[in-house]
Symmetry: C2
Subunit: 382 residues, 2 copies
């Protein structure tokens, strides 16, 4: 297996992009990555997208996007794992380069959610249709139950949950591509409209449009395309039950724990080696659970991390310096790639006001549904 | 890159399976493959599925299917390329084994179409939404235009088209898992109900439910699991424009031509080396165009192949011995894997009444939409 590097990245702003279609978003992000690497074609493309068929009536995104990018003929495949679709696109590209079959592979995540009708209903198709969605549960409801379980088991407070949103909006205010670049106060989060108790509006990531792209190649060739390659030290995936009711403890993200352990093993690293991380904060409780599953804090101690400043810029382990899904936005298929881009920028020292000093090792954790699937990548400055 | 083999296969009957859900179908096919190899877990799973979200309200099939198969935790990813979703699932599994990261990988294609409402409308999301589907075109319409173009350019006749259906129903009559096991006459095909002129009902593959699974491992380990491994000599993919109007000649399947050329190059083989082939006959004209694109016959000469018996069992190159999509059925996400299974059975000498004598090399060609994507695999008896 060959070592693999990311050599270029591109990303649209995230937000309500009414004047950009699904294909426009894809092309904008992909072209930015290709221009950065000064290449005009690739060997293969992976498109991470959750629900183009349901949102905008478009499946079969592989060839459509290759064509609109000016690369008719190039192999191009769509991969899907709900909100972890971007993560699996990156992982598929990694395999193709690692195998030796291809050298230059583009991984692009894209989602156009604002043109969809029943966005909450479409997202619910990432839950178990027969055991959950059919009966009316939505993702705010599922994560509310996770939050309740965590509060009951570990004494996590509403203030702990709100502190995650305050931190991530603070980071997002420093990110010119974030959907929300406004800071919020603890009081504003606590007083925002109830969505599914205990979760309020400002605990929830928004409905977003956007795309993000990274270009991969063998590490041995990386310096043909950039002076600052980032090595992929590990790519790991795991699954859990889709239905929350089938989990032994709804506040434990087993798929994240397993994917994290596999990634640490593959990289020969542990949680203490990570300098900066992007985790999947679709709801504020998700960041808390992810920190525990990735062993950044002990089980039950995730609630304190944001409140004490431990995971803020300047803290022991800055988490979601991009603003996270909460503030940067969450075009579901794009999120996994956007997370990787934030880490690439941090490891290259290109993160501007969000820069973590001397970041050498970074981690991303991307998750589908209520944690049915999880993808963890570890990256290294080389 | 390591050599890769298929060591086991499983497949449900194809048809209108009202008493089987999407997950039932997946599990039945996957378990048959696992039992044949006498293994109870794998390193990774790929699920080929076109439109679970639209047909039955279920995206995120990776973890759902792993869980229902009793493999909670195992990495499991859904891949999609419309009707070539099965082919890309096989290709993704091939990469993961070839890369050295995983040893045992399961590739399963599955589709549940009969529970869907507007099946024709859902399938149309595999066409270009903005340039084609939005304006009302459906796949019978698109392939009818391909047929018209082929007839105009090459003098292909209605009898040529009908002969493909007659041949494939003849083969399907020998396949106990085929949706249609009845023979049809040229007269019956010619007199069947018009769907989109010149295509009539008996030129069209049916709406089907079904699943098909293959288990892959490194060739070096294959004999731990079977006495009759089948080596994957080549795995190739290509794309073309999604919109038919963007093609230089609608009767030329450029993506198939390109994927075929890449597969022949990867295998170090040519069309004359192929003993048996399964091609994507979603409509009878598609088989004719595929034979030409894969260089089995000269351009424009595909129309005569079925009529003269060249591609029937006992002919020079038997094509679609399974019955093809026309008679075996076409649960869109499952088709690419089912094609591979027919070739595996042929190369193992297990095809019963459909056996091609001394078949050593076989090829599959799977296609998305009107040919926007194409996947070609070449297999060898070892």
């Amino acid at each position: 297996m060959r070592d693999v590097a990311i050599v270029a990245a591109g990303m649209t702003p995230f937000g309500e992009l009414w004047h950009h279609s699904l294909r426009d978003l894809f092309v904008e992000a992909a072209l930015e990555a290709l221009r950065a690497a000064r290449v005009d074609t690739v060997d293969s493309i992976y498109v991470g997208n959750m629900a183009g068929g349901q949102f905008v009536g478009q499946e079969h995104l592989g060839p459509l996007m290759a064509d609109h990018l000016g690369m008719r003929g190039v192999p191009s495949t769509r991969v899907e794992s709900a909100c972890a679709s971007g993560g699996v696109a990156l992982r598929s590209a990694f395999f193709e380069v690692a195998s030796g079959l291809s050298d230059l592979v583009l991984a692009v995540g894209v989602e156009k959610m604002n043109d969809g009708g029943d966005v909450t209903g479409v997202l619910a198709t990432a839950a178990d249709q027969e055991l959950e969605a059919y009966h009316g549960i939505t993702f705010p409801g599922l994560y509310a139950m996770i939050a309740r379980a965590h509060m009951a088991a570990h004494g996590t407070t509403l203030e702990d949950l709100a502190a995650v949103s305050v931190k991530n909006h603070g980071h997002g205010a420093l990110n010119p591509k974030a959907q929300f670049q406004n800071r919020v106060t603890l009081e504003q989060v606590m007083a925002s409209a109830p969505v599914a108790e205990p979760l309020r509006l400002l605990h929830c990531s928004p409905v977003s449009d956007g795309a993000a792209a990274v270009l991969l190649c063998p590490l041995a060739r990386a310096r043909e395309f950039t002076d600052r390659p980032v090595k992929i030290r590990a790519s790991a995936m795991a699954t859990s039950s889709m239905a929350l009711a089938d989990r032994h403890d709804p506040s434990m993200l087993d798929a994240v724990t397993l994917a994290g352990a596999r990634a640490y093993q593959m990289a020969g690293l542990g949680p203490a080696d990570i300098d900066v991380a992007e985790v999947h904060d679709c709801f504020s409780i998700a960041e808390i659970c992810a920190l525990e599953a990735l062993c950044f804090v002990d089980t039950g101690k995730g609630g304190a991390a944001a409140r004490t400043g431990e995971t803020a810029l300047g803290g022991r382990l800055p988490v979601n310096t991009s603003g996270g899904l909460k503030a940067k936005g969450h075009p579901v298929g794009a999120t996994g790639i956007a997370q990787a881009i934030e880490i690439v920028e941090q490891l290259r020292g290109e993160a501007g006001d969000r820069q973590v000093a001397d970041a050498a090792i970074g981690l991303t954790q991307n998750m589908g549904g209520s944690g049915g699937s999880a993808v963890v990548h570890i990256f290294e400055r080389v």
